[in-house]
Amino acid sequence: MSSDVMSAAGVQKLTMAQALNRALRDAMTADDRVLVFGEDVGPLGGVFRITDGLTADFGDQRCFDTPLAESGIVGMAIGLAMNGMRPVVEMQFDAFAYPAFEQITSHVAKLRNRTRGALAVPMVIRVPYGGGIGGVEHHCDSSEAYYAHTPGLHVVTPADAHDAYWLMREAIASDDPVVFMEPKKLYWSKQEVDLDAPAPGIGTARVVRDGTDATLIAYGPTVAPALEAAEAAAQDGRSLQVVDLRSIVPFDDETVTLAVRSTGRAVVIAEAAGFASVASEIAARVSERCFHHLAAPVTRVTGFDIPFPPPKLEHFQLPGVDRILDAVDALQWED
């Protein structure tokens, strides 16, 4: 990425990877407390190149490689945050954040609460997640439920480059720790990013397609298939609304509830195994809050309750257009 392109503002067409890189750069420029570190994020620029060029441009005190230990990375980030820094750490892949689980659940999530607000630990934990890239085992987990279930963490996930940029800027600026779930299969997808138009803050969902017959609720990697399904359904005369959550915690009840009440039908779409998941939460709260508006049960199209499959079989696990349309078809239209 040439620094020419990187310094211009306005509207730019960027991949999500570039948008994230740009957000890190802009945050590092704006605030010298921002530090970026993790495994291979330095000279290599990260295995997905999200931190490309940061060490070269900001020096190896601002962006640096650590020894290979995720609990160490998050634990050290906590200390840095306690002492005035704003760490942004990369977990190389979803499943490799698990060694940091104790640090995340017992400290990152709880330190502010433990000290009644005296000690905040603002930090961003970046987690490339999900499948769809032909990755081998441990490289494709959708682990957002673990974090979303843990009080004290914000959990966000963009579905396009514009949101990726702005959610990252907001996450870094937030006084709370944010688990930033990056749908890795979207890293190379390109969208327009308006660098002058902040997205609404963390905690707001977005209706990304209007529709009147049913609402598809998606986030991160499932927003695209939801939109595709809506497009396909439109050709069959069915008008599907699509909501992109953007933020899992806090949850935008207002937007979601309003949306589902307007259509009376809802399908929740997520890649993670369905049991006790974020999709369960959405289905449960929508069922409760929209009860009298529902013409059909809220259903879910999620990953099966199996370990993520090997590359040659992963297409069975990922919620695709057909499966979404099947779910829509089953929404008791004849009742």
Binding site: A69, S71, G79, R116, L119
Partner: protein, 363 residues
């Protein structure tokens, strides 16, 4: 990897300056600590012991829920705090209340955790003392981060990070020492080896020649010190702190001491150790030793001893009073500090509790 391992090895025997009876150890010069420092340290030692006794009493009276005592380990507690400057940080565990008090934190605030009012009772920024850590060894990594932040800003901060012998087995211990070494973070890792992790004796915890030998594998110098010898501790820890401050990087210090009481009041130590073993440690008591030394030096007489006892009693009285004035914890606190602002979900949930409380009052 150019470090020569010899410089990393601890001494064969723990550094000791005072024998159990308070006589200076033969063949070793006493460190030049100065009389004022020695007396201040001894005063803190007396107060620490008194604090432990007071907390113990409060547990028996049911006014503290639980107390993991550092009875017998007070020399470690005091030294860990006193070797630090105002700008330095202390990272204590649940067992290190006395160290936190020695650092100057209000003892009543320290006991908030064990009273069950809140998870931590003091503002960590005031005296630069992290909340007491329960998940073992996790705090050692935070210490590295705090130290590294200071390094990045060019501040002369040193961090004293405490843990027990058992905690050295956790993966986080390993990661903390390695990170500290690689980043040359100014951290002194001080392991209080009190021979037990709840019921598990050191021999089932490690087969290493000593816990201080663990430094070698990280390129971190290790040192062993008699954990009941206040002078040795002040000297070894003090040197480590100044070495770290001067840019020498982290150090690992193992203080060999003994947990004189059960793990906490909830524990039954008779299930796993003999009284005789405990008794053998009575004569190695850190207070007796220091008192004898100071008296022999003419630095302490009955009058001063009485004065110190009174100061300690005042602290104890403060603790008792503080625990009496029971301000009930606020339910709102449950929702106010999860995030910087309440989320809409938390606002709804707080309303549930508020409503319940209102209805209760109505009754």
């Amino acid at each position: 990897m150019t470090v020569d391992f010899e410089v990393l090895l601890p001494s064969r025997e723990p550094v000791r300056h005072l024998e159990a009876d308070g006589t200076p150890a033969a063949g070793r010069d006493l460190p030049p600590l100065g009389d004022t420092v020695l007396l201040e340290a001894y005063a803190a030692l007396v107060s620490a012991r008194r604090f432990n006794e007071q907390a113990h009493a409060l547990v028996r009276q049911g006014r503290l829920a639980v107390y993991p005592s550092s009875f017998g380990q007070e020399a470690c507690q005091v030294a860990a705090a006193l070797v630090l400057g105002d700008g330095d940080w202390l990272f204590p565990t649940y067992r290190d209340c006395a160290a936190v008090v020695a650092r100057g934190v209000d003892p009543v605030e320290v006991l908030v955790l064990l009273k069950g009012d809140w998870h931590s009772g003091y503002d960590p920024r005031e005296r630069k003392v992290a909340p007491q850590a329960t998940p073992l060894a996790t705090q050692l990594l935070h210490a590295v981060g705090v130290a590294h932040a200071a390094t990045l800003r060019g501040e002369p901060t040193v961090v004293m990070a405490l843990c027990g012998d058992g905690a050295t087995s956790e993966g986080d211990f390993h990661e903390a020492l390695n990170f500290a070494a690689v980043f040359r973070a100014p951290v002194v890792f001080f392991v209080q080896n009190n021979e037990y992790a709840i019921s598990v004796p050191l021999a089932r915890q490690s087969a290493a020649p000593s816990l201080a030998h663990k430094g070698v594998g990280y390129g971190v110098p290790g040192e062993r010190v008699d954990g009941n010898d206040l002078i040795a501790l002040m000297s070894v820890l003090g040197t480590a702190v100044e070495r770290a401050r001067a840019g020498g990087g982290p150090q690992l210090v193992e203080g060999h001491t003994y947990r004189m009481q059960a793990h906490t009041n909830a524990d039954d130590a008779t299930r796993y150790r003999q009284d005789a073993e405990v008794e053998a440690w009575v004569e190695r008591d850190p207070l007796r030793r220091m008192e004898a030394f100071l008296r022999a030096r003419g630095l302490l007489d009955d009058e001063l001893a009485e004065e110190l006892k009174e100061t300690a009693d005042e602290v104890a009285a403060r603790v008792r009073d503080g625990l009496n004035s029971d301000v009930p914890p606020r339910p709102d606190d449950l929702f106010d500090h999860v995030y910087a602002q309440r989320t809409p979900q938390l606002a709804e949930q707080a309303a549930v509790v508020a409503d319940e409380l209102a209805r209760e009052e109505d009754r």
